[in-house]
Symmetry: D2
Subunit: 219 residues, 4 copies
């Protein structure tokens, strides 16, 4: 669950949202991770027990990099892992391998976003912990990739598996309902990336509960 820079997920409201996810995760037994903003990372990690992700880290070691995001700082704030290469924060191909290596050194799990089967395979060959397939044009639309373009997901899984047998595969973009989640799991993914549909919805807890119910039913 990516908090992005939505005002509904900033500061105290971000901590509150993380607490709701924490509760739903504990009640259901289904893993939910949250990715709050940098400035809220520490408060959130102190408030919940579920895994907390940074939304990005920069390809830098400690040093003179004003305004950058250091893996060690994210780790010191209690993060479990980090999102990388989100479509709203793409990085250069030569940086991905470097950042994956820096994250590993700081013991941070890595979730790299991709958009096509080809890019998914390219990233898979760099061995991140997770890949999230997210066609950018569906993000925020409410039209789930798992429904609208199932073949994109299955092709991506095929291409990924040809070079990497173990990376976990998520799918995102437009995922809004329990049905979208169900379809995503049927296609062979391990989970979903959600954002606006939960963060900006009227009842985030209810939406998350519906989704976790569906996950349990799909098992």
């Amino acid at each position: 669950m990516n908090f992005k820079t939505y005002i509904e997920a900033t500061g105290k409201r971000g901590v509150e949202l993380a607490r709701i996810a924490d509760q739903v995760s504990r009640d259901s037994g289904v893993t939910i991770a949250v990715a709050p903003q940098f400035t809220d990372l520490k408060t959130v990690t102190e408030a919940v027990e579920i895994p907390v992700f940074s939304q990005h880290i920069d390809p830098i070691k400690p040093g003179a990099y004003t305004g950058h995001v250091l893996a060690d700082a994210v780790k010191a704030a209690g993060a479990y892992g980090t999102i990388l290469n989100h479509s709203e924060k793409r990085i250069k191909i030569s940086e991905i391998e470097e950042v994956l290596s820096l994250a590993k050194l700081s013991d941070l799990a890595t979730l790299v976003c991709t958009d096509t089967p080809g890019v998914s395979a390219a990233v898979a060959s760099l061995s991140p912990d997770m890949i999230a397939i997210e066609p950018p044009d569906l993000i925020g639309t409410g039209v789930a990739v798992s429904i609208a373009r199932p073949e994109l997901i299955t092709n991506a899984i095929k291409r990924i598996r040809s070079v990497n047998g173990s990376v976990e595969i998520l799918c995102g973009a437009g995922v809004s309902t329990a049905d979208d989640v169900s379809k995503a799991l049927q296609l062979g993914t391990h989970g979903v990336l959600v954002s606006s549909s939960v963060v900006k919805g009227k009842s985030p807890g209810q939406v998350l509960e519906n989704m976790t119910d569906e996950v349990l039913r799909s098992k």
Copy 2:
């Protein structure tokens, strides 16, 4: 005092460093502000009474901007202001006016870094609260701009004052000793930007004390 992404100023060590600055500032009566990393902003603002700055904010309003730094989030973390356009995080000219306006809306003081008299004047015409003149090639060298290129500072002040009578002017890059501070004030600046000389030094508190002593003597 810019913490950059030095490991000596990350996590708990960043909070400790901020506390030292807080103590020296209170003892001397000289204003010291600190700029920790995003992930440490909240902990630092809770630990000290001196002004805390973010190292950067992005030219965005709340929304779908994964991995970006939102003015509202920085404000919610308790920041007093933000550094902008540091030589390690330059922004586009069309973004500077936008970010200044966003910072103002979030009631954040703005300190914009510049490198030459011309760019200082250009930025001054956009009315930030403070300008810090920092030639990048002297940063981290221990050779202070106020000693090595006094005419750059005086020219920049002249150019700035021709378009803006009220912006506060700081100087940075290589500022390491009380003498550097003294010289900077003599040239007509209101203060200095320091980083590695304090952050990475053996005794940050001692260096800050020497500098604040000099400020009091210069009055």
Copy 3:
């Protein structure tokens, strides 16, 4: 007249378009400059007598900069000047002064694009030869800035003149008809920046003739 990367202004079609502008300029006595793509610069400068501009140059001196655009190369191709900081190719504030200086060394006239009165004043203090005020949201709309937001232009002119008495001022974005040109000149600008309305129109020569007729009438 900015050719951008429109297919109608690429390769031979770009040369043809430049020839039309050359003819209209000679017939009317009104200055028209063209800005073709980098790859067409030399062929265009050899085909016409009107001033030819590059669409951009990079802030680099000769050296190891694969894929960059060197002022000397643009000059060697016969260019008269260069556009800088177009809204589709914004540069950092610290780069603008550097590029202006490099362009001057290569004897290239400089036209810097801006979007607001504040940014126009900031750029004006760096002394380019020309400033083109172009609010990006009107570009390509057919709604001319001179009609839709005359006060933006007059405010920008006022702000520019407070720091720079000699820079030539153009206005662009949405300029499509002779009326738009007329209005722009009435507001006190020296000319206009046009692109899609001419480049992608059915009869570029006719549109240019209407505009130059209007310029002559406005004198």
Copy 4:
């Protein structure tokens, strides 16, 4: 042979250099390709018969992209192919697949630069025509990657071949002498990328002749 933005390879001097390469290639029967600056592309393609590459193209289709480099424009200038992702012009991972597809549509051969075995494999899974392995820290040093880090090349070849059986593999960075070329071919590459050692040398023709002699001897 990458001309970069060296002054020795700009304008007429670039055409002259390309003619020398053309002559050596025809005399020896060894393929040499040249990559001049955008502004010299057309003049060079008209002056020589050897393949001419662009140094970069942007991930754009025809449209409103001032200052960008369009595949169609490069093709219209007579180019045979394009370099992509050079260490001096890195692109985002999501852009590489897009640019490869645009290049293919414009019938341009593609040569993608990489730095490590991992990134080489990642790029290989996107099926460019050629990959050039170039560790950036050796570029321009005169210390050839084929001599200094042979295992980097052999590992990269192994990783590339595990995902792509047909892409041609070059090696670059520091390649200066016939011996460097010989070693590169022995390691299993199909050729080399050269730049400063030839472009900035006293006798480009002589260096190229020595290298092509070595290629013929290595067969």
